[in-house]
Symmetry: C2
Subunit: 410 residues, 2 copies
């Protein structure tokens, strides 16, 4: 299937520099895709520390189980990712497949298999054929260190229409450090992470405990605050690697003030990557920010925002550039969370459309029609019962989604 680049794609892939302590390569195995890299191999400096967050699916893929075990043991030698086959629900063959991949990578980069994280993305339920992956990895020339970040980002895509990367520099204790991240994902995107893979690297010298806490915290408002189609993948994996190659003293306390700029930078990158995933939502033509306020608490606000973001009726109305706020009311009502119908208010961008239980007095259809033509839309809903707030990002539901998904496997 030839997919047109999403109209919401960033203009360029960012200019991303290598991270000290990260060596990486890609291979073209031809297993499913032709003329593109589909395997990505990473070797990490031995001082590296890795943090990870995984799908909450109760039927996770074999690679997720493997990588969770790696994380538990503090593995930090390498990463291997293949695109085209998710190696999910493949029984014992799948478990052998993931072990074989780890061994293959370990042999190539010179470490133990237990030190290598594995991630797979693509079709579910098909047995993983190792032969082409084996040939691909064995064919890598280790001397050609460091493929570009763009190549790496491309190697892990499936139905993505553009590679996703984000980078930022900041100081820790006056020493410059870099953060580079890549991500893939465009369908099966929903809270708890969807068919989403993301790998973020920094040369900062930070304890593993801090990395894990920061990753978990920032996931809540980035990768776990997006939804394309409410479907949650069996393969979601986000890894954060710090290679500890920067020359500042190791940071051991999460409240250390020297960490301030790094925290901000990491949060920014994670949000940027999460937004890029939504902007590549299958068939997406609009990027929508949904802000819910006035809810009982933060969780209630998130439930309401997700109910709006996942409503097919809301998403199709937006695809049709229709400010059909009645469907927002419906979605608030079906969320099950407390809302004060007679004091609720709804705005589209700067325009108040509903207030105090009915249409706003200064509601002008023409202004709204014009607003709805924008690529980026904001919907704000205040449910008037408390002070809980949450923001969710999503996209619209178009013919493109049906085209891609009625036809993806074959």
């Amino acid at each position: 299937m030839n997919l047109k680049t999403s109209p919401l794609a960033p203009r360029n892939f960012p200019d991303m520099q290598p991270i000290k302590g990260v060596k990486m390569w890609t291979a073209e195995t031809g297993a499913k895709y032709k003329n593109r890299p589909d395997v990505w191999l990473v070797k990490l400096a031995k001082e590296s520390r890795v943090a990870g967050v995984f799908t909450k699916s109760t039927a996770p893929g074999a690679p997720v189980e493997w990588s969770k075990a790696c994380l538990k043991k503090g593995a930090h030698s390498g990463i291997i990712v293949n695109a085209g086959n998710a190696n999910v629900f493949t029984g014992k063959i799948g478990q052998k497949g993931v072990r074989d991949m780890a061994h293959l990578a370990a042999q190539k980069i010179g470490c133990k298999a237990e030190g290598v994280y594995v991630a797979s993305t693509g079709v579910i339920g098909e047995p993983l054929i190792m032969n082409p992956i084996e040939k691909g990895v064995q064919g890598i020339h280790l001397a050609n260190e460091n493929c570009s970040w763009q190549d790496a980002a491309r190697a892990i895509t499936t139905t993505d229409t553009y590679p996703k990367g984000s980078t930022i520099s900041c100081d820790i204790d006056e020493v410059p450090v870099n953060i580079c991240g890549i991500a893939k994902g465009s369908g099966m995107i929903a809270p708890d992470m969807a068919t989403m893979l993301s790998f973020i690297f920094t040369d900062a010298n930070i304890s593993r405990e801090i990395l894990q806490k920061l990753l978990r915290k920032f996931c809540k408002t980035s990768f776990n605050a997006i939804t394309v189609d409410s479907d949650t993948s069996t393969s979601d994996t986000v890894l954060l690697v710090a290679t500890a190659q920067a020359s500042h003293a190791k940071i051991m306390d999460i409240h250390d003030p020297r960490l301030k700029a790094f925290k901000k930078g990491l949060k920014t990158i994670m949000l940027d990557l999460a937004h890029q995933v939504v902007k590549d939502g299958e068939g997406a033509s609009k990027f929508i920010e949904i802000c819910v306020s006035g809810a009982k608490n933060k969780d209630a606000a998130k439930t309401i925002a997700m109910s709006i973001a996942n409503s097919p009726l809301v998403k199709t109305a937006i695809a049709g550039e229709d400010s059909n706020w009645g469907r927002i009311i419906m979605a608030v009502g079906k969320s099950g969370e407390k809302a004060n119908r007679d004091q609720m208010s709804i705005s589209f961008g700067p325009y108040l459309v509903a207030k105090d239980g009915c249409r706003a007095l200064d509601y002008y259809e023409d202004t709204l029609i014009k607003y709805m033509k924008n690529h980026n839309l904001t919907i704000h809903v205040d449910v008037a019962v408390g002070s809980g707030k949450f923001k969710i990002w999503t996209c619209d539901l178009t013919h493109g989604y049906i085209n891609i998904n009625a036809d993806y496997r074959s």
Copy 2:
């Protein structure tokens, strides 16, 4: 918008006889639709008893609030329904609108306004304009008793592509009684009843308490076991009316053995109407039965079945006639309910596709391709942790859904 009749529609509207004690009329108000009835007025015999079930939306329409109050007071004089405007989120004007409609109907049929149930369906958030409805109702000739059931079913439709009716006869204590029901609904259909209106009438002589209990019970496995798009409406209403005109002695005990055939008949009609709603699901090309077994309990089975039925990835795969059972695994996994991944099994119709955590040995793609071309499909999933079972009915997600909903309001 001109909609083609759903390919899943029954061949004919059933031959439905009048129910003794029910007089009814329709009117063409022209308020939104042209050249079709859009108001339905019902006068009930004074011995009638009414049971009702309503949406659980926390932002229900004014008519739902009105009718709930009617039910509480045991109202049983009449019903008025309009199509085209749901009178939801219309503030005080909406509350006045529903009072006005009840008064209008009451004046016409000669009763108190508090005795008249009101239901409205259509666009949300637009103020209800009473003038055309008033003219329409006043123009009804009471002497022309009893419009046909088909006319009544037509008068309450919105984006429905066919009128929905169902009828059955049975005996109570050797006296023949009839049950006739109509329904509307095609989008915003989800458990807890969606934009679904249904009105069921019988001449049986049964206590109000029994009616209410039976309605609530059978709703669980009919109207509340269907989903088109996971969206729940603000207006759902199901009323069950018994006019008590049949000559058998009044039934006062729900366990009375004389009620056996009636219970079965009512259940059959409710399931038939619910299925007809799904078969008219916006853009539907496949009618899908999803049976989940082996769950922790019945609720868990329902949650898993709904997760499958509402998954856009599952629904688009089926639209593409692709037996992509990997997406079923995904939907089971995201449901959050316990499932034994390594002992789970999945069948499409009679064909086992997955077993013991991987693809079934006798899985033949060609057989599946042929099976997926059917209009009626059954998917059975056993999650291998307990004995909880539930059945859900849904339809696929096609370009037709997008066409209708990116464009419905304008």
